[in-house]
């Protein structure tokens, strides 16, 4: 039985959806010449103004700004917290664990701003915990993470036993653990740990939504299931094309969860040559997602990776559209809205990086999920 709170939350999700940044606003943001100008524009008004309050806009750095952007998803998710019952709170917590995982990844990588500017790192974490007051970070013990100096201590801050064991296993296999945070050689281990966390996150989330019944469950399975399938396919594609792994190795990386792309599709994709990857998916709902853009210039593998990521988000947006069009009350509205918010954040981060590294605006516009109208001044 749907509660009044869920009705309110569903309506709120729809209202907030209408407040998301449009292509035009993204285009204006892309026009800005520097990270500071972007920060100033975001701080002036809109959904990010509150998050940027108190930030020194004259000295703000890309990594700092991107971290603050990542808080937005948590902030948005918490808005729905008070409206929903315990079973849906469990879902929301599982969904928002992506924030905790982001924090863990930052610490494991020893992100520049966390490692070099320990004080700011602490303030940032405090800000996140203050934001989450009343909600609580579910996956990470914030205080332990803040004090962590070694990988072992970072892993010890993870509250979930299953994930902690998976991470410990990865570390003991790859021989990490006691290294201090600032250590450039840990990239491989950070990547493996990131994969372990992502696998845990998506498998858990999918198992939770699989328990939801009725139309709410179907819609949630469609959204999370689509994502799970796309993650599996993307990981296989990435492993085969960019990391040159064997088909078998690529198959060992994927999630336990499957939606429409079952193991036979995934193994066929893994054993296909990267260039014929799209062909394998021709008869699946994911046809076209991994196609190369015929109009785009070939900028190499890194560009191709970003392009596919954009396609994946666009496909997810079409699923989100279906959910909102179905016009039903339930947690799927919150999930769909959070997916849109995540997409918006991804686009803003892309804009920030375009400004920081001086990308061609036309190219930068092309990799945004919500493609902005190309302006004549863009080169």
């Amino acid at each position: 039985m749907l509660s009044g709170g869920m009705i309110a939350a569903s309506v709120k999700a729809r209202i907030r959806r209408s407040e998301l940044m449009g292509s035009d606003e993204l285009g204006s943001l892309l026009e800005k010449g520097s990270v500071r100008e972007i920060a100033a524009s975001l701080a002036r008004e809109g959904a990010y103004a509150q998050l940027l309050r108190g930030v020194d806009l004259n000295s703000v750095r890309r990594s700092e700004l991107e971290f603050l952007m990542s808080l937005a998803l948590l902030e948005e998710g918490i808005v729905f917290w008070r409206y929903i019952d315990d079973s849906h709170r469990r879902l929301l917590q599982a969904w928002l664990c992506t924030f905790d995982i982001g924090l863990l990844k930052s610490h494991i990588r020893g992100d520049a701003f966390l490692a070099e500017n320990e004080e700011w790192g602490h303030i940032a974490l405090d800000k996140a915990m203050e934001l989450a007051a009343g909600y609580r970070l579910t996956l990470v013990d914030g205080d332990k993470l803040k004090n962590a100096k070694t990988l072992n201590e970072i892993v010890a801050s993870v509250k979930d036993r299953v994930l902690r064991e998976a991470m410990t296993e990865t570390m003991s296999f790859e021989g990490g653990g006691s290294a201090v945070l600032i250590d450039g050689k840990r990239a491989q281990l950070a990547f493996s740990l990131g994969m372990a966390m992502d696998r845990w996150y998506f498998d858990r989330l999918y198992s939770y939504v699989s328990e939801v019944r009725g139309s709410e469950g179907s819609a949630l399975r469609l959204l999370v299931g689509t994502r799970v399938d796309l993650v599996n396919l993307y990981w296989i594609y990435r492993a085969r094309r960019f990391f040159a792994l064997s088909p078998e190795e690529a198959l060992t990386l994927i999630l336990k969860a499957r939606f429409r792309a079952k193991f036979d599709v995934l193994s066929a994709a893994a054993f296909a040559e990267p260039d014929s990857f799209s062909g394998v998916l021709a008869n699946t709902p994911y046809a076209g997602v991994f196609d190369a853009d015929p109009d785009a210039d070939d900028h190499g593998d890194a560009w191709r990776e970003v392009e596919i990521e954009r396609n994946i988000y666009r496909h997810l947006m079409s699923v989100v559209g279906q959910i909102f069009t179905a016009n039903k009350i339930g947690f799927q509205n919150i999930a769909a809205y959070l997916t849109l918010k995540e997409t918006e954040m991804r686009d803003i981060v892309a804009v920030i990086e375009a400004a920081r590294y001086g990308f061609n605006k036309r190219d930068a516009g092309a990799i945004l999920v919500r493609a902005p109208v190309v302006r004549e001044t863009w080169e």
């Binding site: 332990k144 201590e153 010890a156 064991e165 064997s246 078998e248 336990k256 054993f271």
Partner: protein, 646 residues
């Protein structure tokens, strides 16, 4: 019965004295830390103080808990410790690290032995299977075209390996499943062996290297079994070591634990401190109920004479934009209803606490709509049962029991016991027989509640210094006058009451004038009251619509209270329906049993379902008709540092 007056306090003093102060504050549960920047902002000294690093005692506490968890030791309970331990951090840390090092070395030894045990177990299973085919196990590595690998992996990684085997040319077979880890063998062609190695690496499998001589070792199963027994005994011995080690120094460990715990609480209260570069001078700020400031000063005089305490009224800090936390203070029985206020939103600091009026009106509304002696008692018993089964609890259960009590009270007023109106004589009225009186009573309650809401609105606006809105706003005195005059007009006309019957033109003129006052309230207030800025943001059209909306809401809000009478009658009607149905089935075979079942089920539904609906309707009246008139909410609960709850 109000929002407690708060103060922003700052303590500046030597670190060791600040520690004592912090501990006393934790014990008193009256201090919520905040950034000292709020209080020190703009002061020249501000820049000399640096923010403190994270609480180092958290990590130490974590290590101690780790030690405790692995030894399985239970601590002796401890109440609040009122003195700061004298042992320095470095000394405590060294002691704990030493204990942990011992513990970890034991754990490593256990892990190695467990590995050996698992390998032996897997090889034994395998060798038994090979022997059963009539072959020697030591012949296995001499397989000409095949490659065999023994390994262990977590369940998840094992699943990944097995699944990959469905699409790749190798076979993976589990040999031992110990619940957490799977020991397995893989078989593949010699050519595929290098690829197999990569696959095993990508699932993080631990490959157990097997040399031909290892296979020979397992040819004699009895020798292996004997070795496994001795490994088991060794593991048992090592497992008992930490417990023995810690229980030998039980008193010392307890002392150490509580010393670290105390300091962890102290530095949790000081987590937002700022300190001079030599860390000898510390600044701690936070929120505190103003009434506790005197006892805090007395404590400083006794325990920390060199600490300076600066107190700033919370109102000033609020005016500077600081979110002052809210602490409510109510009588114990009224406190139960704070949960209902929080459910809507906690009052912001300085706002009127509506808990008392909510408590009274909640009892009145619920009793009015669900008045029945029997159902009230059943409700109380039902809640007690749910409490016992831990399905319901806390303040909501207490409120539900009070609601049951109100039902009993109104049951006597209505003369109703399980819907039977003949058992006791009504003290006041019977809702089904006195429909008009019930409706009038409901409307009267509505008018009183709305008027209280408007009075509170006026009071709050005067408190905020917004006299214009208080006097001329549609929800202020002008609105209230409009409401009461319109009410007198309606009551005079409908009830034919001579005392209220004036000429229509008089009522019309009065209402028209007040309407104009409300319409032009902003410019009039700007002329009359110094400092009142005319609100121009919304525009004229929006203002006109909002005035009209406020006037219309008088009608809708008052009419909404008709539900009090409607539910009172609905309750009597439902009871009547249950009794009629039971009477109807009485004439069929086994009718008495059916009738009894119908009565029991019917009344359970009434108590459960109707009780819930009435509860929701009561909250609806509170939140929409009453709170909407004056209440803003949006407060943040005061969250002091406590001894328990670390």
């Amino acid at each position: 019965m109000a929002v407690v007056e708060m103060a922003g306090v700052t303590f500046i003093g030597p670190a060791e004295e600040i520690e004592r102060v912090a501990l006393a504050l934790v014990g008193a549960e009256s201090f919520e830390p905040m950034q000292p920047d709020v209080m020190m902002g703009g002061q020249p000294i501000h820049s000399r103080f640096r923010p403190a690093k994270a609480n180092q005692w958290d990590a130490l506490m974590g290590k101690l808990n780790d030690l405790r968890a692995h030894s399985g030791m239970k601590l002796l309970a401890s109440s609040f410790i009122d003195n700061v331990p004298s042992v320095p951090f470095s000394e405590l840390e060294a002691g704990i690290d030493g204990m942990l090092a011992n513990m970890n070395s034991t754990r490593d030894k256990i892990a190695k032995l467990e590995d050996e045990y698992e390998t032996s177990r897997a090889m034994l299973e395998l060798s038994d299977a090979v022997r059963a085919t009539g072959r020697k196990f030591s012949d296995v590595p001499r397989l000409p075209y095949g490659s065999i690998t023994l390994g262990t992996a977590s369940k998840d990684n094992w699943r990944r390996l097995r699944e990959t085997g469905r699409a790749a040319p190798f076979i993976a077979v589990p040999v031992v499943d110990d619940g957490g880890k799977i020991t397995f063998i893989t078989l593949c062609s010699g050519e595929y062996a290098p690829e197999m190695e990569k696959v095993l690496a990508s699932v993080h499998a631990r490959v157990i290297p097997l040399r031909p001589e290892d296979f020979r070792k397992y040819d004699d199963g009895d020798v292996v079994r004997h070795r496994m027994e001795s490994i088991k005994a060794e593991i048992k011995g090592y497992r008992e070591m930490p417990d023995l080690y810690l229980s030998g120094g039980r008193v010392e460990f307890d002392h150490l634990y509580w010393a670290v715990y105390t300091m962890q609480r102290v530095y949790s209260a000081c987590r937002m401190r700022r300190e001079l570069s030599d860390k000898k001078m510390v600044v701690v700020s936070g929120w505190m109920p103003k009434a506790r400031c005197d006892s805090a000063r007395a404590m400083l005089a006794n325990q920390a004479p060199n600490v300076l305490m600066i107190v700033e009224p919370a109102t000033e800090l609020r005016n500077e934009g600081q979110p002052v936390p809210t602490l409510l203070s109510n009588l114990p029985i009224i406190r139960r209803f704070q949960e209902l206020v929080k459910l809507y939103s906690l009052p912001s600091y300085g706002e009127t606490d509506p808990t008392f009026i909510l408590a009274i009106s909640f009892c009145l509304f619920f009793g009015f709509m669900f008045g029945d002696v029997g159902h009230g008692i059943a409700l109380i018993l039902g809640v007690m049962l749910l409490e016992r089964k831990k399905i319901m609890g806390g303040e909501i259960a207490a409120v539900a029991k009070i609601a049951g009590g109100c039902s009993v009270l109104f049951g006597f007023l209505y003369g109703s016991v399980f819907g039977n109106e003949k058992l006791i004589h009504p003290i006041w009225l019977n809702p089904m027989e006195s429909v008009n009186a019930t409706l009038i009573a409901a409307m009267f309650i509505g008018v009183v509640i709305i008027s209280i809401g408007m009075c509170l609105y006026v009071y709050n606006r005067i408190k905020d210094g917004d006299l214009g809105e208080a006097l001329l706003g549609p929800e202020g005195v002008a609105g209230m006058a409009f409401f009461w005059i319109a009410l007198c007009w309606a009551v005079g006309a409908v009830g034919n009451i001579q005392a209220l019957k004036f000429h229509t033109a008089i009522y019309g003129t009065l209402l028209g004038l007040i309407f104009l006052v409300m319409l032009f309230g902003n410019p009039i207030a700007a002329m009359l009251f110094e400092g009142h800025a005319a609100k121009v943001d919304d525009g004229g059209a929006v203002h006109v619509i909002s005035v009209l909306h406020a006037l219309l809401s008088f009608i809708s809000n008052t009419a909404s209270f008709v539900r009090l009478a409607a539910f009172a009658m609905n309750h009597a009607g439902l009871c009547f329906a249950v009794a009629t149905l039971a009477e109807m089935v009485r004439h069929v075979p086994g009718g008495n049993i059916f009738g009894a079942v119908l009565i029991i089920v019917g009344h359970l539904v009434i108590v459960g379902l109707e009780g819930l609906i009435v509860f929701i309707q009561t909250l609806r009246l509170e939140y929409y008709e009453f709170f909407a008139k004056f209440y803003r909410g949006g407060g943040r609960a005061f969250a002091p540092e406590r001894w328990i709850g670390a």
